[in-house]
Amino acid sequence: MAISRAERPARTRPTGRLTDSLSATSFHTTRHNVHWLPDFDIALLLTSMVKIVGLIFLVIMPMVAYSVYAERRVSAILQDRVGPNRVGIPLTNIRLAGLGQPIADGLKFLLKEDLTPGHVRKLYYWMAPALVLIPALLTCAVLPFGSELNLFGHSVPLVIADLNVGPLFVFAIASLSVYGIVLAGWSSNSKYPFLGGVRASSQMISYEIALGLSIVPVLLLFGELNLVQITREQSQNGWLLLPISFFGDGPVIEWKRLLFVIPAGIAFFVFMVAIFAETNRTPFDLPECETELVAGYHTEYSSMKFALFFLGEYAAMIIGSGLAVTLFFGGWSLPFGIDQWIIGLNDGMIPWWLGLLHMGVFFGKVVFFILFFIWVRWTVPRFRYDQLMKLGWVYMFEIALANIFLAAGILLLFRA
């Protein structure tokens, strides 16, 4: 099929033709007529590759490593301990406040004995850690981590895939990570991991409903499922939870947006609770709850396979924070519509330093949320399992449902 398509006479792409982020793979013939390969849009493909590799290996992975470090340091501060402050540059006495710790931890995990117990189901036992990590990393594809970078006359949008179903994509792929936990629990073939797996599956399914319903008011306001558009709108009219814009097109304070802070605030609360439950963080870490289940679903794991579960949990936490930032706190945008002022000064263009600043702003907000996750973990005690279920089904679900009606009512009130 590919051959017959390439052999047809050269045709330029019609202007109205549907083009989106995935059109990197669409066929069109060029001067160099290669007959056996579809002709890819090399520039788009290259920038996408750079974005994928850069985002995952230069940003998310180090962030995961350093959030483990932050977790240990912050918990130490909260409990009036010192925490890991020794490891610095190897072979020297420079300590750098223990910033070398994640590298040492990573090496330790790689070099430890990788023990596979005799009683496990091998295939699923090996597959499970990957099934936790991969969905968590996949979801970062739709998060807009910056506005656009104008370099050498080219404009590169700082999002890997500009999909029209952004939040749904994140929920769908993130919901697949439950298989990793369930299979880990089941394949370990022992009691505690199994109980952890069963708990994880029912917990994640219960809170997925609250998670999905909680963002409906946000989508009602924006009328849009595209995260790039949602962020751009907030960049012009102020963040959803801070709807003040001095430099946008509209008035400084729009009454509709100001009143909408109430349902948006409730939505944010339900969303955060559900994200805590989905990422199995304390106070909802029942699947690995060490006082009851030893270590829950990863009891039988050791070495790097154990570390992969850890990486998956922290990566999911980063993506959850990223989604919360994008939906409620303006993503990469600066507050009060300052972006519009700077863009206005630069003849409607986004200067390269502003593109970099937007990236910094986005990850700064994400880091803030990660610290919030850590803070909650070391202050709030764990729920009992029946309390967790009751909270999810009786309170969060109902609050989210009522909130949709409230949001729709406010939008109806201000309808032109």
Binding site: G16, L18, L168, A172
Partner: protein
């Protein structure tokens, strides 16, 4: 969608679907079914139907199959693995499959619009925008079309909630009745 990707996902989907009933272990079958669903979602996405593709993963792979797995894990798998296939059941199953394949092949053979490929009739957002010009309220659909993207979520929502609103309500009531029925049937009788 490049045809190479279509064949990749289609063949993988069929292989995984076959693996669902070849595997004697119910957990392995369930996981193969999940993989098959994900391949189906990839085919939908290849048709520019992002919303349907994502919902396929969200609902079937992310929710329903997790519940399946949840129940399967609580069963006695050893008894299931030892179970013999009875020839009569095998024949009955094969008969259903053959009838279904026959029906599908006759229907698909006479389905003319299915022969049109996206290459012969590309989705032209300019034409789509023109056809909406008669509507009073342009809204976000027109905005998306002007950007050159296909607002499949909006189009689907418009079709569902304007043209088929009565049908949607009836389906909703049906699901509610089924849920209430399950609760009533599974309730423990105290006395």
């Amino acid at each position: 969608m490049p045809s190479a990707l279509f064949y990749f996902f289609a063949i993988l989907m069929v292989i995984l679907a076959v693996a669902v009933f070849i595997n004697r272990n119910p957990v392995a079958s369930a996981m193969c079914l999940v993989g098959s669903f994900i391949c189906l979602a990839a085919l939908f996405i290849g048709l520019d139907a992002y919303f349907i593709g994502i919902i396929q993963i969200l609902v079937y792979a992310g929710a329903i199959m997790v519940l399946f797995l949840f129940i399967i894990m609580l069963l006695d798998l050893k008894a299931e693995e030892k179970r013999q296939i009875r020839p009569l059941t095998f024949l009955g199953g094969m008969a259903v499959v053959i009838v279904l394949v026959f029906q599908l092949s006759t229907v698909l053979y006479s389905f003319e619009p299915g022969r049109v490929t996206l290459d012969q009739r590309p989705i032209d957002t300019a034409v789509a925008l023109e056809s909406r010009a008669s509507l009073d309220e342009p809204g976000s659909i027109a905005a998306a079309l002007e950007r050159g993207t296909l607002p499949d979520v909006h189009l689907l929502g418009e079709r569902l909630f304007l043209d088929y609103k009565a049908h949607l309500q009836i389906v909703g009531v049906l699901l509610l009745v089924a849920t209430v029925g399950v609760v009533v049937l599974s309730r423990k009788r105290l006395s």
